[in-house]
Symmetry: C2
Subunit: 214 residues, 2 copies
DNA sequence: CGGAATCCTCTTCGATACTG
DNA sequence: CAGTATCGAAGAGGATTCCG
């Protein structure tokens, strides 16, 4: 085993498992659900194919990722997080929350993917501000991703897919949506920039409250 | 700038700043307070000297670490976290909490340092279980570190140094203390193994409650 | 002795091309 | 679609040396 810290420290142990380059970004990709090899490559933007293959092997060996062969009609292989892999979410969200604060405003020079919204929403969500709240929101990038944030009794779940009876639907391009959830664009400015908002206008304020600026 | 992800994603941004090998472990070392170059090298156990120098330069350039020259009597340079560096603590604690779960029981084969207790205590501390509690605990490794955990109104602070009027003092070797805070050894077993416990016996139960197994 | 810079080797990464 | 193969460039690891 090469390049491990092998120290009796939880942080060092975590980094021995997911500290290598690209490893946590692969976890990010899988947080939104199972994905195929090529989807992963696309979502990771610039990962060399050999490195992706190597990391998947390592993460599988570490018990964080599982590969599964889909049933015949869709004959394809997908990768998904194991339970242990899902347990990384609080740590990944905490890192994302920290990183957001120094993220340059979206200006088109950095690539972004609509499904990254899932992590951004989880990272931004403020449990205290959402106390007692129960409603859902839907975000759509036409022709790309559909992301929903469902709050139940103050607990949030962000995932790919439609929301059931969302109080609010926001349709915009990926750049605008990511900028909104990063806090660099507020809903009013996004609206002016071409975003389409449907639903209860008051829900917009509640949404802003439970996704405070980082 | 080499090897950056440059993606519009908080996690990628965080990893661009602290994702390189050794970077987060340097943050771990500095969480317990300012340290000199040689202290860092000792606490990181096996870091090559050139890599430590390079990382410190990068972390300083990123605004996470500051170098400071001490006043004449102690004429020496120390490194310390900036405010932005301290903000990493929740993320580091979350990673440590995750990593602890798969940390092999302390068996002497992996190096450990007494001051890692500071991170271990912060990672293990359970705010919900500590609600309303106010008392402090002191951990000592004779001839090495003195660590205190101070809980005030359910909020914890772990740091190097003595506690004021601790409800409990535990004196043991580093291995035993780290194993205790990892949850792999319970206080009763530690006592049997030679740990010295002074203070209110009931405080031992309260301590175990606010540091649940990972 | 603290705080590095240097030299060298070895591994990994990044980019691209290629194959079952 | 799901990887493997190849190859140059960059970093990590280890030991040693240098400077105040």
């Amino acid at each position: 085993m090469a390049r491990v810290y092998a120290q009796h420290c939880g942080l060092a142990q975590a980094l021995d498992l997911v500290g290598e380059r690209w490893a946590l970004l692969i976890v990010r990709e899988l947080m939104a659900g199972p994905r195929r090899y090529t989807d992963l490559a696309e979502g990771l933007v610039s990962i060399p194919s050999n490195v992706l293959a190597a990391r998947l092997r390592e993460l599988e060996a570490a018990g964080l990722v599982r590969r599964r062969r889909l049933a015949p009609p869709a004959a394809s292989t997908v990768y998904e997080l194991t339970g242990r892999g899902h347990e990384l979410e609080p740590a990944v969200a905490a890192l994302a929350r920290w990183g957001m604060k120094s993220l340059p405003a979206a200006n088109g020079s950095r690539p972004f993917r609509a499904h990254w919204l899932v992590l951004a929403l989880r990272a931004r969500f403020d449990e205290d501000a959402a106390e007692g709240l129960s409603e859902s929101y839907e975000f759509e990038v036409p022709g790309d991703a559909l992301v929903s944030l469902t709050v139940e009794e103050g607990r949030a779940e962000a995932r790919l897919g439609a929301a059931t009876e969302p109080a609010l639907r926001i349709v915009a391009d990926a750049e605008t949506l990511l900028a909104m959830t990063d806090g660099s664009v507020d809903p009013a400015r996004a609206l002016a920039g071409g975003a389409l908002i449907e639903g209860d206008p008051a829900a917009l304020g509640r949404l802003a409250a439970i996704l405070p600026s980082p």
